[in-house]
């Protein structure tokens, strides 16, 4: 018996319950997504990532053939873990058992738990797996949702600004997979308030998206037709779609690119539409792309004689409900084209990006002093070089970008696993105030990666496999003025998270996050003094699995906001119950939440479970209660149905919301229904 096998035997003896891999774990993916999503407080669309993870779960990666790029889809893996995995595989030969992963440095018990649903080992004789890979699957899904109360936008007379459509939202999705290499997607969406199939809108849905994606050709590694995403380097120059910011997972500060990807999200602005391909020759990869699509914009015609129109603002909401929103729909167009060349070595990856973005009109910079360095013009050329390199237990990465005829931006980072229990991250960024990119998702504290410099350091310590503490600090400066900040300013952020799992089924975690930024004081002067704005969050989470059917989740969160004499406190407490019996047709979950927030600045964001592929992180603000119920019923082997009902009851006030969204009364309720038909 070789040493490897002896170790393996030892691992098997002490390993957790076998058969874990077979359990159907939808709540598991939800927990995973929540841990990823909780740090992003924006209206990010997680459906694409969610779909991807469910797809991998159904078609797990083979440990002996999985590629580094495929591993980046498993977003919980850090670059050092991926390198550790690949090194282990090349040193020790093919994996025999999944539990062998425990022998890899940096693979904690938690990593393994996360990984198991997505991996497998193909053994000789498992020919049926080979055959099934070349099968086609179809998935058709319809989601209908609406707010039950009447909103002002549907009630006011047609003579004033109003919502021209009906108050429901309808989303149709079709997905096609042929084996692992060919996939297609069609998405059709109409938001609440948008007209549907009326005379004003004869084409039915408000938003259409379609894509066809082919992988693993001999030279053409990837080919995308229709809508696609591009994610390269550290997101400084060319990155569209989902990206993660600073969070409790300190390794997440290094972005793991996935290059060319099909697009299937419902975000109506941030994607590419056209053709792109990745051509691989030996260690080199070339990704040329071209994209053209219309964008929402308010276009201002200064002089009709010379027909000189200007884009005064681009809209990214994707909402076309009122006549003015409809007027702006597709008023501008964007053409983007360029190419990425990349070298993939064993330890080194490096690449260069060059592309141009063109609008049909000039973009106008804002008129305020803080807009002074904003982009103006119709054409922007971006160039960038990036690399990442692994050396022993260190992972270094960097990207330097330049927007032609304007500024530079730089990212540089170093990550190391200093011992089996300690890992550390250093991350420096410097974005000049006149650096621009329209596809920029780099780590930043402001609104995009421009006009900012900062230094981030993070530390993660696993005292025992069950007790973990992670910690980061970030100090940042804004060298030019910003909205509501009349002079150059600075700030800092600190996050500490400690988690403890006394048992496999129980996890307690505490998080403290403190952010200080400077902002104008309350005065109404031409130039204001700055005062510090402090925001402190305290969060306690408790998760326990009662038995194989029930799981409880609790959270208490307090936020303290302070700006000069304006001091606010917010409180949120909730109880989640998740019910997911093995093999049952019915599953579901519900939440009862109590919130008590002084005002807007002390609002609290929290992740909410939703129907399959949908996720939301709404803000809880004002005072009241919220309840939601989410159920899923398996009608037949190929048909599943979901139903979600939510209601928020406020304890004070005459109405809810503002503008055309205003609702009379103290409660707001929403309903959502979804049906999925899948054919295998």
């Amino acid at each position: 018996m070789s040493f490897k096998h002896q170790l393996l035997l030892l691992v098997l003896v002490i390993s957790f319950q076998s058969g874990y891999a077979q359990t159907e774990s939808d709540p598991f993916i939800e927990t995973l997504l929540e841990s990823i999503a909780e740090n992003n407080q924006s209206e990010t669309d997680y459906s694409e990532l969610s779909e991807r993870l469910y797809f991998i779960k159904q078609h797990p990666y083979d440990l002996n053939t999985v590629t580094p790029e495929q591993l980046t889809d498993l977003v919980f893996l850090s670059p050092l873990q991926i390198t550790g995995f690949l090194d282990y595989r090349s040193d020790n030969g093919p994996f025999v058992e999944i539990q062998e992963l425990q022998l890899i440095d940096l693979f904690t018990e938690e990593t393994l738990q996360y990984m198991i649903p997505f991996i497998m080992i193909t053994k000789p004789g498992m020919l049926e797996i080979k055959n099934s890979q070349a099968k086609s699957t179809h998935e058709l899904m319809t989601t209908y949702s609406r707010t039950l109360e009447q909103q002002k936008g549907y009630l006011v007379p047609d003579t004033v600004s109003h919502y021209t459509g009906s108050p429901f939202k309808l989303l149709n999705r079709y997905r096609y997979h042929f084996g692992k290499n060919i996939s297609g997607a069609v998405t059709m969406e109409k938001d609440a308030g948008e007209p549907f199939g009326s005379s004003a809108k004869p084409y039915g849905f408000d938003f259409y998206s379609a894509s066809l994606f082919i992988r693993n050709g001999r030279y053409v590694k990837k080919l995308a037709l229709g809508d696609y995403s591009l994610q390269f380097g550290q997101g400084l120059s060319l990155w569209s779609g989902l990206s993660f910011g600073k969070g409790a997972n300190i390794a997440g500060i290094a972005k793991l690119q996935s290059g060319l990807k099909p697009y299937s999200s419902t975000n109506e602005t941030e994607f590419f539409r056209g053709v792109a391909a990745t051509i691989a020759i030996k260690h080199f990869e070339l990704t040329p792309f071209i994209s053209y699509h219309h964008l929402d914009a308010s276009v201002f015609t200064a002089d009709t004689l010379i027909n000189q129109s200007q884009i005064s603002s681009l809209s990214i909401t994707g909402l076309h409900r009122t006549s003015s929103e409809l007027d702006n729909k597709g008023a501008a167009s964007q053409l983007a084209y360029g190419s990425v060349i990349q070298y993939n070595g064993k330890a080194l990856r490096s690449g260069a990006i060059l592309y141009q973005t063109r609008y049909n009109y000039n973009l106008e910079a804002g008129q305020f002093l803080y807009n002074k360095f904003e982009f103006a013009g119709s054409t922007l050329t971006n160039s960038s070089v990036y690399y990442n390199y692994t050396w022993n237990n260190l992972y270094s990465f960097a990207e330097v970008s330049h927007s032609l005829n304007s500024g530079f931006a730089l990212i540089s980072g170093l990550m190391g696993s200093l011992s089996s229990k300690v890992s550390a991250v250093l991350f420096y960024r410097n974005y000049q105030k006149n650096y621009y990119s329209f596809f920029n998702k780099a780590i930043n504290e402001g609104s995009n990666a421009s006009n900012e410099s900062g230094f981030y350091s993070g530390l993660s310590v696993a005292f025992t496999p069950k007790t973990e503490v992670s910690f980061y600090t970030d100090f940042f400066r804004f060298p030019w003025l910003r909205y509501r900040v009349d002079v150059p300013s600075s700030g800092r952020e600190i996050l500490v998270q400690a988690s403890w799992s006394p048992k496999k089924s129980t996890k307690v975690s505490f998080r403290y996050k403190s952010n200080v930024k400077e902002q104008n004081d309350a005065g109404e002067n031409t130039i204001n003094y700055l005062v510090p704005v402090n925001k402190d969050n305290y969060r306690l989470d408790f998760l326990t699995k009662l038995n194989s059917n029930f799981q409880f989740r609790n959270r208490v969160e307090v936020v303290q906001y302070k700006k000069a004499s304006n001091s606010q406190i917010g409180l949120l407490a909730y109880q989640d119950v998740l019910y997911k019996p093995m093999g049952s047709k019915l599953s579901g979950n519900f939440r009862v939440a109590f919130f008590h927030c002084d005002a807007y600045d002390s609002r609290i964001y929290a992740f909410e479970n939703d129907v399959l592929y949908s996720y939301s992180i709404p803000a809880y603000q004002d005072k009241g209660y919220r309840f939601y119920l989410n159920t899923r019923y398996r009608l037949s082997k190929s048909i599943d149905a979901w139903l979600r009902y939510s209601i928020t009851q406020y304890s004070a006030g005459e109405d809810i919301g503002s503008g055309l969204d205003l609702i009379e009364g103290r409660h707001k309720s929403d309903i959502k229904m979804q049906v999925r038909y899948s054919l295998k």
Binding site: L418, S419, S420, K421, V422, A424, L426, S457, F475, V516
Partner: protein, 265 residues
């Protein structure tokens, strides 16, 4: 410029009141010396001196505010004798027209390599050109507890009697207490923490990390939260000589580089 700096220093006394420079290693680790053991313990928690086995002398130079001649110079010497260690320290902060000096004498005792205790006596002197001199005394006491090979827990009080110069001098001596721990995660990784509570300010949490790539070469980093400062540094040891460098960054005052040399007899 010079006088501007003086005004800055005098008006931000809170920031400088604790300006005890504990060498480049402890500085680079976020000034978390309360549970660390080395010769510079004499300027952080004197109990750490009791762990020494050989006499050590060390000097340090800190450019307190870059672009000015304001600096901190220190010289320390520790002499272990059986289970006890005696320490002498001298520190000078300021510039030609303004000087704060501090002379210390420490006595530390080692109880079975598990418990370390110390007392420190300081004489402080303030001299401002054209105004004259003032002097006063203060005390410090420290404890360190080492329950295992890897863990040290420390506590330290500075000037508990709140002594200060006489009323003609508008300057105070810092009064604070600190507690913390350090833990060796492996022979390469040391992490230290400290919580400092002063009579004037709220608690300052600090943490530091030392990573020894090879036994002779170490890289260090640290942060403190109030004020928010970031630290980094390195250390290199050749035979009996040890060179340490550190740099700290203050949000308003910028970078302060420092270098220390130590010689073990």
């Amino acid at each position: 410029m010079l006088w501007l700096s003086v005004i800055l220093i005098l008006s931000t006394k809170g920031l400088f009141a604790q300006n005890m420079n504990a060498g480049a290693r402890i500085t680079a680790m976020g000034q978390t010396g309360v549970a660390l053991q080395e010769v510079w313990s004499i300027q952080s928690n004197q109990a750490g001196l009791a762990s020494l086995h050989k006499p050590i002398a060390a000097i340090s130079y800190l450019s307190s505010i870059q672009g000015t001649e304001i600096s901190t110079q220190s010289i320390v010497f520790a002499y272990p004798y059986r289970h006890q260690t005696f320490g002498w320290s001298m520190q000078s902060f300021g510039f030609s027209a303004y000087k704060e000096r501090r002379f210390g004498f420490a006595y530390a005792c080692n109880f079975n390599d598990v418990l370390y205790a110390s007392l420190n006596f300081n004489y402080h002197q303030l001299s401002i050109a054209g105004y004259g001199n003032a002097g006063t005394y203060s005390l410090e006491a420290g404890l360190q507890f080492k329950p295992s090979e890897n863990l040290i827990i420390g506590a330290h009080v500075v000037n508990p009697s709140a002594s200060s110069y006489d009323t003609s001098v508008d300057d105070v001596l810092p009064v604070f207490a600190e507690a913390g721990s350090s833990y060796m995660f492996s022979d390469k990784v040391l992490i230290s923490t400290a919580l400092v509570v002063s009579s004037k300010r709220i608690a300052d949490f600090r943490t530091g990390l030392e990573y020894s790539v090879i036994p002779q070469l170490a890289f260090r980093g640290g942060i403190s939260t109030r004020p928010f400062k970031q630290y980094a540094g390195f250390g290199y040891a050749i035979d009996h000589l040890c060179i340490d460098g550190a740099i700290s960054s203050h949000p308003a005052l910028g970078y302060s580089p420092q270098i220390s040399l130590a010689y073990e007899f």
